[in-house]
């Protein structure tokens, strides 16, 4: 199917609807872009791949962008990726410049989104072309590298690695798939549960449980704090907004967007890392670092261009290697699975029109995000007042319908949702890392196939070190990420000890 056949009024309408709903999810504290994608995933069943992705990419861009609204107006990050936006955005709001801060954040989000989109468009096909030549050995090492990078960026390296391996372990429950060259035998299945666990746990109920139900249980645990009242939101009383505030900030915007995109390319690293890194760099290179944290517009620009830079970056490893860049793009794998398409190095080459449609959807989503948020700023600001007692029960219901319909009506998937919702809540309490767990769960079956087939083909463990220069390079990167993390955590421990 040609690109222009995929672009229809429905396609554009879905991007728009996705962006608006995403903004709502992002703007309500406690709800995230990941949750938006998880909840709306079942709606894509009957839409086809291009239209389904149009909706989900709109949700992704809108969800990441919407987080700036409560971050600035209330000092509560709507999504984890807006944490650093609160540092300068909220002080600006407190001194009566809330709308100015919002407009700065919206423009910076647009810049970040567009730069990352450009990098995605240029970089993903090149990486995919390169990755096509990878054998099972390199593919296995890439998964190992993805897991170590995620673990290295976790708050605790050991727990990060443990979480990733736990995800792999749970993904192996079920039959060793014959279609992947397995022997069709059961493993890791408790006696009596073979009927339900024959194919293991389905991906989507697991994801919806971890990101939908678990988040609501977290809110229920703290009593579902009441939303803000409309009167709590202060609007600017003074001058009109001027773009001159961006004078001298081109470097900051470009650097922060590139940092966000780079962080997005690293597997499993979320928007919070992107915005924190972009913000700390902006502060380091600023002529007035002392103004940061007190309402400095450059801080809002860095944070928001950084977290929106993540959107394109996170799609690079997904579409070129089949490895999700963050938890939201992990959910996008679910959308591809629903349509029977496997993402990986062959995806772009085999589906050029879908690839172009995705780029176009991302471009539209960024433009719609800007138009909706910039020109309806006061209405968007009111989203933070939407009552959770209305939203949360509906989200729970959507989670259930998503889990139930994934395999065309299997109640076990609904119970999986509950099981992993509870596990997600417990994991947060136990300080397990959800991102490495998810990536481990998604990539576990592939890791097994690549590992076992490598050994079956070559009959020697040393092949993982000697197969090619890429294998050697990947080992260097794996060791570097683990060593770097260990050194960093020791420095932190030393600094804390000194304090």
């Amino acid at each position: 199917m040609e690109f222009f056949d995929l672009i229809s009024p429905l396609f554009v309408a879905l991007v728009f609807a996705g962006t608006v709903v995403g903004i709502v999810f992002g703007a309500v504290p406690g709800m995230t872009a990941t949750m938006a994608v998880a909840v709306c995933l079942p709606l894509t069943y009957s839409l086809g791949l291009a239209n389904g992705l149009a909706l989900l990419l709109g949700l992704y861009v809108g969800g990441i962008s919407g987080g700036l609204v409560p971050a600035i107006l209330l000092g509560i990050p709507g999504t984890p990726s807006s944490i650093t936006t609160t540092l300068d955005g909220h002080p600006m709001s407190q001194r009566g410049e809330g709308e100015t801060a919002l407009r700065i954040g919206i423009i910076a989000s647009l810049v970040g989104g567009l730069i990352s989109l450009l990098i995605l468009y240029l970089f993903a096909p090149t990486l995919a072309d390169f990755a096509i030549r990878f054998s099972y050995v390199e593919k296995f090492l890439i998964i190992l590298f993805a897991l170590t990078v995620m673990a290295a960026l976790s708050s605790n390296l050991l727990i990060g690695i443990f979480s990733g391996f736990l995800g792999i372990f749970i993904s192996l429950i079920g039959t060793y798939d014959v279609s992947n060259g397995g022997n069709g035998e059961y493993r890791l299945i408790p006696p009596g549960t073979e009927y339900w666990l024959d194919s293991g746990f389905s991906l989507l109920p697991v994801l919806i449980g971890l990101f939908g139900l678990a988040a609501i249980l977290e809110e229920a645990e703290v009593g579902v704090p009441e939303g803000q009242k409309a009167d709590d939101i202060k609007h600017d009383q003074q001058r009109k907004f001027s773009l001159s505030i961006f004078k001298g900030q081109l470097t900051n915007l470009t650097r922060s967007s590139c940092i966000g995109t780079f962080v997005g390319i690293l597997p499993g690293v979320g928007g919070s890392a992107a915005s924190i890194l972009a913000y700390s760099n902006a502060k380091t290179f600023s002529r007035h670092p002392e103004r940061f944290g007190k309402g400095e517009p450059a801080g809002v620009m860095a944070s928001e261009s950084g977290n929106n830079g993540l959107t394109g970056g996170a799609l690079v490893p997904l579409l070129s290697l089949g490895i999700p860049g963050d938890s939201t793009t992990a959910l996008l794998i679910g959308a591809f699975t629903l349509q029977g398409i496997q993402v990986g190095p062959l995806f772009i080459g085999n589906n050029p029109s879908v690839w172009n449609a995705m780029i176009f959807a991302m471009l539209l989503a960024n433009i719609f995000m800007f138009v909706v948020m910039y020109f309806a700023i006061r209405q968007v600001a009111r989203i933070v007042t939407v009552p959770k007692q209305i939203l949360f029960p509906v989200i729970l219901m959507m989670c259930v319908i998503g889990a139930y319909t994934i395999n065309y009506g299997i109640m076990f998937d609904v119970w999986t949702l509950l099981l992993f919702g509870l596990f997600g809540w417990l994991a947060i309490k136990l300080r397990l890392e959800i991102a490495p767990f998810i990536i481990g769960f998604i990539l576990g079956p592939s890791a097994e196939v690549y590992f076992v087939k490598s050994l079956e083909s070559f009959g020697d463990l040393s092949i993982f070190f000697t197969k090619s220069w890429i294998a050697v390079l990947l080992w260097v990167l794996i060791v570097a990420s683990v060593t770097g993390s260990v050194l960093l955590s020791r420095r932190h421990a030393r600094d804390n000890g000194a304090d």
Partner: protein, 139 residues
Amino acid sequence: MERLTAVTVDFDTSHLLFPGIITVVLLLLGVMILIQERKRIAASGAYWQAIFTRMDKLRFFGTLAATLLYFCAMVPVGDIWPNTGLGFLICSVFYVFLVGMLFLHQRNRRSVIPVVLTALIAPTLVWWLFTELFYLTLP
């Protein structure tokens, strides 16, 4: 050296090879975490006690209980009117209402009306969308 690293994979037992390795790695990591986090683990009793003390038990366990009830009731109710999705619709109306009420902070007429309306409209809309428009089976 080559002999040391040589491996023969038996196809009949190949389904246990990778899970076995992952299990060993998990056990090793578990032991390392136990050693590294021994102080925190020793103090975990107080940690969990604090969580349960601070917890809004009514809302947390109420949500869990309502969800359990919702899941258990959906199929039996749906079996009364097979292939219509009414099990989902009817149970969802009660569930959305119940959880909405549970999450309300002030239960007066003004705040209950939106909850009732949401409980009636949202499940009906979703039910119509999935059964009539998408032709998907609901319980």
